[in-house]
Amino acid sequence: MSTLKILVIDDEPGIRSGISRILRNFRVDYPFMEEAFDFEVREASTGEAGIESIENDKPDILLLDNKLPGIQGVEVLEYVRKKQMNIIVVMITSYASLELAVKATSDGAYDFIPKPFTPQELKSSIENITKRVFLKKMTNKLQETGKQIRFQFLSVLSHELKAPLNSIEGYLQMIRERQAGPQLESYDYMVDRMLQRIKGMRMLILDLLDLTRVESGKGKRDIKEVNLVDVAHTAIDTMRPYSIQKDIRLNLHGNDTITVMADSEEMEIIFNNLISNAIKYNREGGSVDCTLSRNENCVEILVEDTGIGMTAEDSSRIFDDFVRIKTEKTKNISGSGLGLSIVKKLIDSYKGEIEVTSEPDKGSIFKVKLPINKPCS
């Protein structure tokens, strides 16, 4: 059992004692909460006394009348807001000043309770607030432990994994019910779509494996001297069939040897992702140019394509987890939305940099800098 402190600031003694009485034995308990809540009510008859009580007792919830003898309720609200106190403020107000209450909610009050209210109205309002306090505590706790990010990640992930499963299941049901009639050919489209979705899911799983490796990895890293030109060649050779299909020329420029101290598998992930993207989002008959160079402090990798490009707004998001740019031009291109976020995480772990410049319908240039000895630039 947890107790929430409530402070009532109202100049009418009847209201104050009424609230105290209603909430004395009131409890809020939901199945999803780890614990139940009860309430301890304190009272103040003026805004000034209220502020004193706020400072001393640090209430969780403030029930605030606006019309007070000295300073007004909104001023108390302002005080709480300015001091950035973690208090949920609810305005108690007569119907006549409803407009003011609405304004107060936009100034930071959580809600308002119109006067006169029934015990039930008060209770249900307190119930909502308690839920909110609980969730806030929960999110704070999650944030502290870094779980929040994990949590968001998992929710997006479940969406990404469930969507293809749902779609395949849907088609299978249609086929089982022979919805397109007895002709097998009528189901070709559905079968093609299922295969497509499975392919997408496989890609997602591969990317996820890369990602977990990146995120958990450090200990297992095998740092050796790696010739990036070799890595680039391998990546290009792997992608060759795909590029021939789309009639795209792949060119590699630069010296024969450019070495860095790195994990070669991780370097492969970087090149594979950048080059496969450059093909995937290219136009038919286009080209991909990969240029490697080095100066005394860092190695620079450029991957340029002649593809569909993207807007500045889109380029600012593409390194985040699960971001896929959804436009008319990309809708038939499949991807997990993880590739570039993996690349970014890897490059960060080497204290490198990656940036993109892009123009819609012209193409994109990805520039990677990896430090050799000390930070680049």
Partner: protein, 132 residues
């Protein structure tokens, strides 16, 4: 003699659209499809559907909410179902959004995408009757 009721379905998953169209056409509805918030907005400029089923996450995480808001503004009497595939897993995250967003969203129903066909039809029939 009743004319067919028109359902607008908006979702960025082309397979979901295909399957929903199929299911709902078999129930005797006329189906309009849009693959994005933007496409749907253009569509409702020209046509007023009898009911709409919107996906939540499309171009952006909240595309469905925004579209819902805009539709309610344009056609207050058209019931809207928000269909989502994430409700169960996201639990708390979604609840928070729910609480805050319910105030201004006014979707008539929140349904899970995995809902069974008969149940979906029931919900749609109910919403259409209420607004008749």
């Amino acid at each position: 003699m009743t004319t067919k009721k028109t359902i607008l379905i908006v979702d960025d998953d082309q397979d979901y659209l295909y399957q929903m169209k199929n299911r709902l056409e078999s129930f005797g509805f006329q189906i309009l499809l849009a693959e994005s918030q933007k496409e749907a907005e253009e569509l409702i400029e020209k046509i007023k559907p009898d009911i709409a089923i919107l996906d939540l996450m499309m171009e952006n995480e909240d595309s469905g909410f925004i579209l819902c808001y805009k539709m309610k503004k344009k056609y207050p009497d058209v019931p809207i179902i928000i269909a989502t595939g994430v409700a169960a897993e996201t639990g708390i995250t979604f609840d928070i959004n729910d609480e805050n967003n319910r105030k201004w969203i006014r979707a008539d129903r929140f349904l899970d995408k995995g809902i069974r066909s008969e149940k979906l039809k029931e919900e749609i029939d109910q919403l259409l009757k209420i607004n008749r």
